[in-house]
Structure formats: C-alpha cells, structure tokens
C-alpha cells in the first residue's frame, strides 16, 4: 500500500482548509487513507512540515499525490467538482501546438505514449517534489515497477518539435544519461547506470530500445529507464514542462497522464494538450490528443444500492452521495448513470459505485443491524476429533505445544535421518530457516527438547497439528493431514512407556489395533512399531534413534509417537 509524504502548506491550500491531526485523521477516512505521522521537508529553520499519509486503495492511483488526496477531501467537504476543460474525448480533439510521432518500431517493445505540457508559472519546489513522488508511486505500484507505465518530465525550451518516439539500435545511439557526465550507448546505460540495472530488464530482450527524440536529434529519454542529462533535467523554477508516459497498456498510460494533468491543473498550472500520432491501431484510435477522457459511463440501479447498503436510498440520494465523491451522475428513473472523474478508472462493476455511495453518505449514517437468519454453528469434524484426542493426552500428563509449520531442511530432514524425498520445499525461501513445510510433527517436538534440557524432567509434550507432504496421486501433488505427535523424554523413557501411552490413547478413542515391525530410520531398530487400525497404517512409535538424538544435541532418552488423526477418524 502506497505511503506518501506531502508538503503541509501545499496540501492544506489545495484541500481548502487547515486541519489538526484529529480532524485530518477523520477526514482522511473518505480517501481510505490513514495519517501516518508528520515529517519535515529539508533541514533546519525554514524547513516546511510534511504530512505522511498511507493510502489503502490500490485501485485509486489518483490518491497517491498531494493534489489527489486534497481534491478528495475538498469535494467531500462540500467543494465543487473540479472542471478540466483541456481534456479531449472521442470526436472532440482539443487544438494542440505540440505533436509526437510514434514510429512503428516501438509496437513490439513499448507501444503506447501519452503526453501533455504544463505551463503558466514556474514549477515550485513542493510541486516538483510531489511530481517526482507521483512518478515513483504511480510507476512502481500502478505501473508495475515501470513495466506497464513509466513517466518522464522535460524542459520544453530545449525541445525541437515534433518529437519522435521510436526504437533505436542500442549500440549505434549514445547520450548522456541523468546522473552521469559522459555519453554512453543505450546498451551501456543498461549495463552501467543504476537505473539501467534496475529497469533495463524491461526492454533488454528486444533488439531495439525505445527512444524519445526531438526533431533536431536531441534525446529526451530512453523509456522506461532514464532521461537525458540536458533536456531531461528538470529543476525548480523551470517553466513549460513536457510530461510524458509510455507503457504497454493504453488505459493505464492514458489514465496516468490524466491523473498528473489534473494534479497540476488543481495547483494552478495551465495544461496544453499534445497530439500523438500512431502508425498502428490503439484502443483510442490512431491519432489521440492527450489528456484524453476515455472512461465509459457506469451505471447502477438505486434498488441495488438500497439492497446492498440496507437503507432505502432513492436515485436522487445516490446522485448526491456520488457528488460528494466528485463523481458526476444523473438519475433516469430508478437508474443512475455515473461519469467517472477524468482521473479515475476503477468502476469495474456497479458494486464499485455502491461503495462510493456508502462513503459519500458517511459510515455514521448506517446503523448496525442484528442478523436475522438462523443458522446452526458447529466445529469442523477434525477440530472436534482433535479436541477429544488432546483431552486424553492432557489426562495422560502431556503438555500441549504449538509450533510453526515452516522450518529448515536441517531440522526437518537432515537431523531426522530421513531422505526428505516427500518433503515440500519452497522455491523462493527468504532464508534457509524457513524453507520446508514440515512433513512430520516429530522434528518440532525434538526441537523443543533440544532447547529445554534445563526444564525439570520428565518432559512429556504433544502437538495436534498439520503436516504436508508430496503425494503424486493428488491433484495438488501433495496432501495436508492433521496429526498428533507425542514425545516423552527422561532418564527412563523407553518403548514400553510409549506403547502403554498408545494403548491407553487408542483404547479411549475406541480402537482395537495391532502393531507390526517397522524400519523407520528416526527410531531405534527393533524398538519401534507401526500402528495398524482396520488393517491400515495410522502411525508409528518407538525409541528415538540415538543418532537422531545426537543430531539434535539431546542427551536424554526419548520415546515418541506420531498418529494420523484423519486416518483414525476414517
């Protein structure tokens, strides 16, 4: 979930009012956001206070900026729904002084581009920082680490129009990337520049790399990796900036451009459209002027709203609630037609409008209601059986334990003297300490013993829990089972003690059983038995092999047992 840090002064200016922490915290709930604390922009005197905000909704990238959160709060508090007249839409392309020509060569590597120009006043420190933060959050989360969307800012005064967007030979073209002072070939940038190393993999598999270039050959950037050190080096005080987005998914690219354009418009900048010409079809056509309003209207029946929210909410009330969320809507009978704001594209289903109605009306307006449907509660059969089994073991003097299910190969396999062929390994473990799902409860019990030699003896412990292991016959190639494992450890712990415990346990669970010779390497030869119920093996018990004890550093005799509760349940 994105966390942002906003300049307090700019934020309150855009929100239309100052708020203290408690009020702000309350107001932020309308943006599904949380106040994460306060910080400082810069050092020493004159440093401005910042507000840290955590945004919970991963489908609302428009909220990941100062202007975005401020807008939500401003309109929610009664402010007007902002107008963005610079948007083009189907059949209504706004006139544009700037053109970008897309070349067919980018179609396979990174086919879509959207752009606009901000002008009217020099860019402030707070807005530049915010734009850079937006670039990070938008491209990291919504743009999937720049894979589907990346963003660049450029100084217009250095650009010769029209700009071209094409794929270039990585060895034949060179420029000075931001952060360095020497020219490098495109390929060398991928190999040597920090951003190249971080994002280069997105384009490295292609024969040619995407490049933005002015009419005079001046290079703007290699998308989505790095800007040039001249045209692409934006500083506080610059006027007239080109903002550009490239990516692999047109709705995401277009929406990102819309979000940033609306943010700058809210902050008092003018937005000038950029026309982009494609030599191939895109979801928005071959010639698109950005920012472009592409979202389709969404609709919801007020009856559905009432049914899901539990209050009778008429169509006019639905329209009013959506208005507080900055969503323009109109009622047609019981039906409400909603026009997503320019910067939002998250109405996938009528249910999404229902939620906006809920927030628009405020949570306090919904009174909790006691459920009316009668249903019978019951525990899962495995849980009931497990409790029965556990009560017996407690009565037999055993202490119940509970363990983690993820552990190391060393503990679950090597120390247990088994091959581990049926154990489930994780392909992407974070550390080798948590790399295997336990195939048995016994290593967990022995791990306990290995750290408990100072605890007063005798030790009698057990766990009823899950294990998992390979089973090629299953659809998932594996099975999870509920088992009970017992361990008795003291100077006189032996086979006979455990045999007596197993006999008592199975007697009270109502089973006749037989024992058969077993050859489990975890136990001592000749001092272990397979437990057979209804002719089926349900577990094993015996004296733990001293070889295993030594592996665990245990110097006290141990007798143990593991039984499969699900097999016993039948």
């Amino acid at each position: 979930m994105p966390k942002i840090e906003v300049n307090e002064k700019l934020f309150f200016e855009l929100a239309g009012r100052r708020m203290e922490a408690a009020e702000l915290e309350e107001a932020l709930t309308a943006a599904k956001a949380e106040l994460d604390g306060y910080g400082q922009d810069g050092e020493g005197r004159g440093a401005e206070r910042t507000i840290k905000i955590e945004l919970n909704d991963t489908n609302r990238p428009d909220l990941w900026s100062t202007a975005g959160v401020a807008r939500q709060l401003r309109v929610y508090a009664g402010g007007p729904i902002p107008e963005y007249p610079f948007f083009s839409s189907e059949g209504d392309a706004k006139p544009s002084r700037y053109r970008v020509a897309v070349d067919a060569s980018v179609k396979e590597v990174r086919p879509y581009l959207a752009a606009f120009v901000i002008s009217g006043k020099p860019i402030s420190d707070a807005m530049l920082k915010d734009a850079i933060q937006t670039q990070e959050k938008l491209c990291a989360n919504f743009g999937r680490k720049r894979k589907s969307v990346s963003m660049g800012l450029y100084r217009i005064e250095l650009i010769k129009w029209p700009v071209s967007y094409k794929a270039a030979d990585p060895d034949a073209v060179a420029f000075t990337p931001l952060g360095l002072d020497a020219k490098l070939s495109l390929r060398a940038i991928l190999e040597e520049h920090p951003k190249g190393k971080e994002y280069g993999h997105i384009i490295a598999g292609h024969p040619k790399y995407p490049l933005l270039q002015g009419a005079d050959g001046g290079i703007l950037s290699m998308a989505p990796v790095i800007n040039s050190a001249d045209i692409g080096a934006v500083q506080v005080g610059d006027r007239d900036l080109l903002v550009e987005f490239t990516g692999t998914d047109m709705p995401s690219v277009a929406l990102s451009a819309s979000i940033v354009a609306c943010d700058f418009a809210d902050a008092g900048y003018e937005i000038a459209p950029v026309a982009v010409d494609y030599p191939y079809d895109t979801p928005l056509g071959r010639s698109v002027t950005f920012p472009y309003y592409f979202q389709a209207p969404a609709s919801v029946d007020s009856g559905r709203v009432s049914k899901l929210l539990g209050d009778s909410i008429g169509p006019e009330a639905v329209v009013a609630a959506l208005g507080r969320m900055a969503v323009r809507a109109e009622a047609h009978g019981q039906h409400v037609r909603a026009f997503p704001p320019e910067y939002r594209n998250d109405f996938l289903h009528a249910a999404d409008l229902v939620e906006d109605v809920m927030i628009g009306r405020g949570m306090a307006s919904f009174k909790p209601e006691r459920p009316k449907d009668f249903t019978i509660g019951r525990l899962h059969p495995i849980e009931r059986y497990s409790r029965e089994a556990k009560n017996l073991l407690v009565g037999m003097g055993y202490q119940e334990m509970i363990y983690n299910y993820l552990g190391s190969k060393r503990d679950y396999i090597d120390r247990m003297n088994i091959s581990g062929d049926d154990a489930l390994f994780i392909s992407n473990p974070m550390t080798e300490n948590f790399a295997v799902v336990r195939p048995s409860i016994l290593p967990s019990l022995l791990a306990s013993e290995s750290v408990s030699s100072k605890a007063a003896y005798p030790h009698r412990i057990f766990e009823s829990g899950k294990v998992a292991f390979k089973d090629p016959a299953e659809n998932y190639g594996s099975r999870t089972r509920q088992r009970v494992g017992m361990l008795s450890c003291h100077a006189a712990a032996d086979y006979n003690e455990m045999a007596g415990a197993v006999a008592a346990f199975l007697f009270y669970l109502g089973f006749d059983y037989a024992v058969e010779d077993a050859e489990d390497p975890r136990f001592m030869a000749g001092r272990q038995a397979r437990v057979m119920v209804r002719g089926e093996e349900v577990g094993v018990f015996g004296e733990i092999n001293p070889f295993v004890l030594e592996n665990w550093g245990i110097t006290m005799p141990c007798a143990a047992c593991e039984l499969d509760l699900e097999s016993l349940m039948g």
Partner: protein, 518 residues
C-alpha cells in the same frame, strides 16, 4: 523464636538430639552416629536444622584427610593389582615377552614397564637373555603386600580410611598411591574433610522441657502405611505433625497450551454465534489463493516477494471446472458477472502454480460453491507470508476469516456482525467503522474497537464479496466476508509482547505460562 512455636517444625532427627544431650555437650557427627544410630548424613542434617533454628551452634572444626577407594581400587581388590596379575601370569605360563604380557592382561605398556621396574629391584621379576620377562618361583613384594592389606582394610571400613587408621608403612605407601585429583588411575582418592564440633544452645533446654511436657519422643511415626491400616496398628501409634510451611514438591501437570486454548475460545464464540467451521490444505493454487478472489494476476500482492511457491511439484494437474473458465472470464472481460473485468489475458498456466496459502480468505472462496443459503462459516487458517520473522511478523500464523450468505444480508447486517464480534470476541466497549479496501470486497470497511486494555485498534476488515468473486462460484446472493486480527488480543491474554512466543519451543516457558482470560 518462642520455644513452643518451634515445636511443630522439629523433625524427629532434631527431637532426639535435643532430648538426648544437654547444652554444652561436645557433639559431632561421629558421636550422633554412635549414640543415636544415625547415619552420618542424618547427623549432619540434624546439626544444620538445629543451627538454623538457633538451637545449636558450632564450636570448632578440625581438618583431616580421608582416603577413599576408587573404582580402580575396587577393581584391584577383585581382580588383583597389575603387579599381582603379572607375577601370577608368569608363574602360571612361564617367561613371556613384555608385549605378550600386556596383550594377555590388557595392560598399558608403560604400566607394565613400571611394574617390572619395581619388582625387578625386589628380585621378583627378571629379564632372560632372550628378552623375556621371568618371575621368581616364590616370594612376594613387601610393597605389594602392604597395598593389598590397605585395600582390604579400606573395604572393611566401608570404602574409606582416615590418616589416624594407618600404620607408618601404610601411611608412606598411601602417600605414594593416593591422588587428590585425577584419581581415576589411582586406587585411592585423597580428600580433605572437616570434622565440625558443635553443641546445643541454652534455648535447646527449654525446647527439651516442652517436648517432655508434651510427651514427644521423636519416635512418632511418619507415614501412615497400608500395613498399619490393615493390621489396625495405627490405633496405638502417634503420628508426627508435618511442617506445612515447607515448600511442596513440584507437580508437572499435563496441560493444554494457552495459545491453542485462546484460539479454541475464539472458535467457540463463533460457533455460539451460529458459524460453522471450515478447514483446508496448506498448499493452494494461484487460482484459489488469488484468481478466485478477483485479484488480477499482475496484482502487487501476488509478487514473488509476497507468496511462497512450491519447488516441487510446481503446478496442480488441473483446476476445477466450470470455476476456472468463469473466473478467467471475470478477469478478462467480466464474463457473466456484470463487471467489465480487468481487461487482460488470463494465464491458465500461472493459475495452476502451487503456493502456500497466503490468506485465510482462500477458505471462504473455496467454501462458496458448496455453501448453504442462509449460511455462516468461519475458519482459523494457518497462512504463510514472505516476511522477515521478528516480534511482529511470522513465517506462518493464523488468520480468522468467515462469510455470511443470505438473501437479505447487506452492509448494515455486516456492521451488526462486526459489532457482535467486537463485543463477544474482543470484549470491546466502543466500535467504529471506516471505509476500507480489499481486492475482493466492495464495499469494504474496517472495524476499529476500543479494547478494555489495548485501547483503540483495528480489529478487522470486512465487506461484501464482489460479484466477480461470487458469481463464478454460482452464488448470486450477497456474501458478507470478514476477517479478524486476534493476535494482539492473544498476546495480551497470555501476557506476551512478541508473536514468536506464541509458537515457543521452550517447554518450561510454555509450562509456566498462565492466561489471564480468553
């Protein structure tokens, strides 16, 4: 202390001493052994206990050396010393090479060598021209005779000799064969001991008078035995009063684990509210772990750094139909769910990838197509997360989740359930709700509660399942979905502040853990 209040706490071992001796009598352990038939340990206990009560005082101590038979010494007594064995061996079998002697008798070369050195001086052993060791036909080493006498004397004296018990010859031999440290290769261990002398204090006289007055002799019976009850002997016996202030022996009890009991109490609460429990496997597919919950396959929470993948097997053989096709359609274009979908090509191979269940909601999704309407279900599911393990993160942990299906359930019913959970499960006094975000519910809310101890915190998240989640499972009624974060309450109930402690391996800390309330 008052003499009378001392009476009850007196052990028979003390009583007999107090009654038998007068203050000022010079006492030591040996005297008690002699006069009262105590063993030395009992005599020492009596002194220590009486001293602690102020009834006895030390008057002096004298050091002395004690020579104790070692296991080797006992071995020599039984099998003979190396000297004896070598001489015996040679007299029986004739001259032999040194190597053969060692081999036959299991002796070290150096030990046999030093025996030869000593005995050849005394003319008992000699070396033949053929370099064989030969023994004289008769005669015994004087040293050897003394040693044997010492060993026997020590054995007869109960395994130890004191300096004063030794003759001049014995004393000089003892100095040679006894060791203070590393005595395992010597027949005697020399140990310094102290004889403590003590006497009863004047207070003991008052106690003795009271004992006589009460008719207490120290011969009162301790245990009431089965024989006494069978024979009726108990009728003519008097029984010693016990010191009830002494520390009881520790009982190691069989016991339920307090964290498990906490989880069970939550389950019981939910059952009492009409919920039926569901369960499932630890291994899941991407399909149920994410796709069925309408989380797009490119969602950041489905990243390699958030979910654990199985190394082998890598994929499920198949995904249940018609659910796979319906879910794929919901993702791609909404299918029949009324949604426009995420608008990407659903990957039917990715969906088969096997993962360790990363969220409890998986069980809710799996339950949908068999759930009854109306129906209420819950699960306490072990989930796995790609997190660095610390006080607030675990590699695997429990999530408590559930669903409610009903023709007429809605947001207000959901708030009603959350209020019930807040009050019944968490004991909350105040509850508030704020809008929330979960990929699979719309609308979504968070419930915050004011806990009597913990103060305000987020108890859980909830919402109404998106139609993209329910419709592919054949469910067309609204489904309320909720999850509760109960770990903080568990830590509080158990008096802990580190999540790792919930799954502690330490037997003693689990044994001693007490829960305040569930």
């Amino acid at each position: 202390m008052e003499p009378r209040s001392l009476l009850k706490g007196l052990h028979p071992l003390e009583i007999k001493v107090v009654l038998h001796y007068a203050p000022g009598d010079s006492l030591d352990a040996a005297r008690l052994v002699r006069d009262l038939g105590y063993v030395e340990g009992q005599a020492n206990q009596a002194q220590a206990w009486l001293s602690a009560k102020g009834l006895a005082a030390e008057t002096g101590r004298v050091g002395r050396t004690v020579y104790e038979l070692t296991p080797l010494g006992r071995d020599w007594l039984e099998k003979g010393s190396p000297e004896e064995r070598i001489v015996e061996f040679l007299r029986r079998g004739g001259p032999a090479a040194m190597g053969d002697i060692c081999k036959s008798l299991g002796l070290e070369q150096k030990d046999a060598g030093s025996v030869f050195g000593r005995l050849s001086k005394e003319g008992i052993l000699s070396m033949t021209p053929e370099k064989l060791v030969a023994a004289a036909v008769e005669g015994e080493s004087a040293r050897q005779a003394t040693l044997r006498a010492l060993l026997k004397k020590a054995q007869a004296a109960g395994g130890a000799l004191e300096d004063k018990d030794l003759s001049e010859a014995e004393r000089s031999l003892m100095a040679e064969v006894a060791k203070k440290r590393g005595a395992s290769d010597a027949p005697f261990k020399a140990a310094d001991r102290e004889t403590v002398s003590w006497s009863l204090t004047d207070a003991a006289a008052g106690v003795a008078a009271l004992l006589r007055e009460e008719g207490v002799s120290g011969d009162e019976v301790g245990a009431l035995t089965q024989e006494m009850l069978e024979s009726g002997a108990w009728k003519s016996l008097s029984f010693r009063a016990y010191n009830i202030q002494s520390r009881p022996a520790r009982l190691i009890a069989g016991r339920h684990n307090p964290y498990v009991r906490f989880l069970e109490s939550v389950k019981d609460k939910l059952v009492s509210l009409g919920f039926e429990e569901f369960d499932g496997g630890l291994v899941e597919t991407e399909f149920w772990n994410g796709d069925a919950l309408f989380m797009p396959q490119f969602h950041s929470a489905r990243d390699i750094h958030d979910v654990y993948y199985l190394a082998d097997p890598v994929k499920a053989k198949s995904i249940e139909e018609p659910y796979q096709s319906r879910v794929a359609a919901a993702h791609e274009n909404g299918g029949a769910t009324g949604s426009r979908g995420w608008g990407y090509a659903f990957d039917r191979e990715f969906t088969k990838r096997l993962v360790l269940r990363s969220q409890g909601t998986v069980l809710s999704a799996r339950q949908l197509h068999t759930a009854k309407v109306p129906g209420k279900y819950f699960g306490v599911a072990r989930c796995f997360r790609y997190d660095k393990v610390d006080a607030t993160h675990l590699s695997d942990f429990y999530q408590t989740e559930g669903i409610v299906l009903g023709e007429d359930v809605n947001l207000r019913t959901l708030l009603g359930f959350l209020e019930m959970f807040a009050v019944e499960v968490a004991g909350a006094k105040e509850v508030k709700y704020v809008p929330g975000y979960f990929p699979f519910t719309e609308p979504s809310v968070e419930v915050h509660i004011k806990h009597p101890v913990l103060g305000w915190f987020e108890l859980g998240g909830a919402g109404i399942f998106r139609p993209e989640v329910t419709e592919p499972m054949g469910v067309s009624v609204p489904v309320l979905a909720w999850g509760l974060g109960i770990d903080r309450m568990a830590l509080m109930a158990l008096g802990l502040n580190d999540l790792r402690e919930l799954f502690s391996y330490d037997i003693e800390s689990v044994r001693l853990r007490r829960a305040s309330a569930y």
